[in-house]
Symmetry: D2
Subunit: 308 residues, 4 copies
Amino acid sequence: MVNSDFSIRELRATKKVEELVKGMRWTAFSARRIGEAREILSEMVRPNGSFNFLGLAGAIVPSGLRSVIVNMIKKKWISVIVSSGANITHDLSMTFGAKHFQLKGQEDDSYLKKRGLCRIYDFCASNKGFVVLERRIRNLLKKIPEGQYGSYELLEMIGARVRDECSILRAAHEANVKILVPAFTDSILGLHVWMFSRFHSVKVDPFKDLNYILDLQFELKSRKAKTGAIILGGGVPKNFILQSSLFAGKPFDYAIQITTDRPEFGGLSGATLDEAKSWGKISRNAKICTIYCDATIALPILVSSIQG
Amino acid sequence: MVNSDFSIRELRATKKVEELVKGMRWTAFSARRIGEAREILSEMVRPNGSFNFLGLAGAIVPSGLRSVIVNMIKKKWISVIVSSGANITHDLSMTFGAKHFQLKGQEDDSYLKKRGLCRIYDFCASNKGFVVLERRIRNLLKKIPEGQYGSYELLEMIGARVRDECSILRAAHEANVKILVPAFTDSILGLHVWMFSRFHSVKVDPFKDLNYILDLQFELKSRKAKTGAIILGGGVPKNFILQSSLFAGKPFDYAIQITTDRPEFGGLSGATLDEAKSWGKISRNAKICTIYCDATIALPILVSSIQG
Amino acid sequence: MVNSDFSIRELRATKKVEELVKGMRWTAFSARRIGEAREILSEMVRPNGSFNFLGLAGAIVPSGLRSVIVNMIKKKWISVIVSSGANITHDLSMTFGAKHFQLKGQEDDSYLKKRGLCRIYDFCASNKGFVVLERRIRNLLKKIPEGQYGSYELLEMIGARVRDECSILRAAHEANVKILVPAFTDSILGLHVWMFSRFHSVKVDPFKDLNYILDLQFELKSRKAKTGAIILGGGVPKNFILQSSLFAGKPFDYAIQITTDRPEFGGLSGATLDEAKSWGKISRNAKICTIYCDATIALPILVSSIQG
Amino acid sequence: MVNSDFSIRELRATKKVEELVKGMRWTAFSARRIGEAREILSEMVRPNGSFNFLGLAGAIVPSGLRSVIVNMIKKKWISVIVSSGANITHDLSMTFGAKHFQLKGQEDDSYLKKRGLCRIYDFCASNKGFVVLERRIRNLLKKIPEGQYGSYELLEMIGARVRDECSILRAAHEANVKILVPAFTDSILGLHVWMFSRFHSVKVDPFKDLNYILDLQFELKSRKAKTGAIILGGGVPKNFILQSSLFAGKPFDYAIQITTDRPEFGGLSGATLDEAKSWGKISRNAKICTIYCDATIALPILVSSIQG
């Protein structure tokens, strides 16, 4: 056990992200984790690496990390995204010009309300952005053929009609990455589609999302492809990705989880990746790593450390 | 500001939950919060109190707290439940005889897998329970008329066909409490209904859930009813409840949140209830309280302190 | 492993703390932990149970939980206390009449400063209390014979001169419980004793604290007494207690830890009690339990559940 | 309030740490914090910046971040260090050849004990290292003139006798940085000095540490120097640094805190820096920033972003 190959080494400050993260590999605690995640992710994203699912929960997109996700999509690191509705709503909203503004931290929420500002911890979005969003979504939906769609189909059609280079929906469309939002109605975008559906025959059918992801898992199983999961934050995206591997009997070969939650309170968002092995969601011999850190710090560093 | 009415008082150990929690009201930190939540909840659940929504995320049901929820339903504290699919799946599974077993904490997850045991932090469920669940759900679904249902309609019909006195679905049926599961397909129950739907015409339509909850909010608004939210754990249930009040322009008058998440990482699950005021989800003058504590501790104590 | 003796049981709300906590024993997550801690603590404090050390960090005393600690001392549950200086300072300050006042949570800290109010999260202490404290400590110290004392000796002499029934120092004096403050100079009390020492020959010698606690551990070892540790919050008190058992080769037979910290970041405050086994601080077969919860909630419940 | 100067900007992955952290400045949550801390730290460490105190708690040194601290000392960023005893013990131990080894995470603690391995979360130290440490410390102490020393004096004399280029004690000696350990007896180093003191007249007097730091604060006040605090992890070092500014009436002009603790449970380790303003420990107009992140990630990134 006491093998000098695994001895802790002095980490040195350095100008290059890659070198810094490689050095972290031989330290302890969270720094070690980010170093290990880099090794695993490098293996996942190399040519003939694994087929990768990305779980997207938390306020990643409006926080300014949208471009980091787009970057991952463009580099073909990701093949399927499972997201909360809010992240996709914000992606669209930003595409339509909505801006978010840093707060100082002393603002009273009732005052913000009066000013038409909706707070997300340390920044806010303006109500006006939501008004524009509503109008633009309505216009987009009018161009879409009537029908009952999986969320991934509807989002694909929207992505095809969007021109913002920073947009996740656009990038996903171009890279043929499917985006699934299992709790589609649990978002402002979902509310707008629901309103539209009251007078038009456009609907979202979550069973089609299940069809898609389960067919995909069975197909990956039949061709013995390696699969990987990058899970940012837990929630529905984490469970939906893992239950697809459980159902198809195709446990993941790689998994990286970035979360600020913790195991001891028993919720899935904080559960270890080891726990998923007992369910058969992750393979016994999978390469796994959980980084207990705000994804706004850990994700850009991790991605930048494999800049190639 | 330095008003002796608000001075910290010595808390004394005592045999009665009610007395202990009342004493906590005049302490600090989390104990104070649970004392304040007791005052707010007492007001919410008294005759002509408020119309209350319960958000149910995390592994509350299988952890042994199912009866505490049932107790709240039977006492008419709750009128609508918005839940993760997992909690409802476990409610059904336990109704069909599944048992959960405490683990010692040293078990290897690959070993558990071999033994057919699926781990949830410090306990496990047997695979056999899931097999029984599948069969029993299938039998239940066969008795249900074909159609496209909101999750609340389907769960109502299931609750009516279940005989377990400890069941949330049963208790909700008897008390005419609706249970909505916005991310229905994100659960084992959802997977079974989806499988069934491939050969039978039974389907879940999440837009109907939106219809239901939004009509309800508009109706509560028109008759100027007071509304309250009890949010256990965040996730989709928290957002779905709060977006309904946002959309209807009917901010909550009361809100109690029990969470182990924290605000600083920006996700909704950890967001303060004050933040929801800036969005108009919670009223400017609402009585609100967040308890930062595992709900398995805070909820039974809170409920027991109002045993009446 | 799947033994029905360990199956999760439905927890029911109940008016009595003891019954509630006994019920929690058969649930999961933090509730289970508090139930298990109750069993262990019951064993520790029964006649001929164990010789128990209490570690006291965090703002336990000013938060209103002073009486809970006093209660534990009076019932002879505790034989030695290792505390942060702040908790003892607050004990004295409250004895001398200082009051703490709940804040609403919207107060600006610069404004509080102007008003002479010092904030501790959600309550404040008045500067005036600290002025009284200084005068009273000075008067007390004048009555103490000159000499170089262990912190436990000085605090014993102070406790003997204090008449407040709610005082920890007083109760400890009466019950012959020693209180050690290893970082004595890291507190307002320490600053006052240091100031006094500039003109009087009264001094605190931390090596005497080591003498005391190590002699004690060796004596406990020689008479094969069972030993237990109740650790609230980590910090110096946790380390000081555990290093004494390490040094003496007398690992603890029981340990209960209540903390809100977590293991993953590597600090001792969040470390598991299992980790202490690798160091020989806790016995291989010790009965141990960590409750991840704010002590202001967990401690009063735990103590009340063994009200006898 | 909605000023485009404060709008969130898209963060882009990039190879250079400085560029990445500068980009984070315009995002949200923890990434924004690290960006803001960079701006503040840049100001603190520029020529004629501020006189800076470093608080060192948690297992920073053995985790592999010793060289990052040494780097900060060599660059003259830091003038005084207040540390836990453990970090200084590990610095010495590593100087004397002790190595730490990464664990896989499945090891049983009783097994580690048998193998003579002491675990610190995800790595371990060998007992042999502690044996060497004892011998080497004893030899060092023999060379030191008898007397009663402040911890900073004793550590200075030890640092002068150590030749390891990676050593904090050595670097501090060379840069004339004083290291104070207020809870000196709460560490293995403290235990060894205590043992030595039983047969030799070498002693540690914590009142001398108070003399030193308070004289220093009064002197900084008299010459109106700007002062700054960099606080890693809370505990005694945080309190000791802040109480010195309180006592001297010389509130800090800058403060950066990296912690994984949180405010809601009331302990000082998790307290906001704003709270310290109400006490007068930090100036009303101070530039302050708290990063809620494991220091093993945040510190190396922060330091590397100002590599200059």
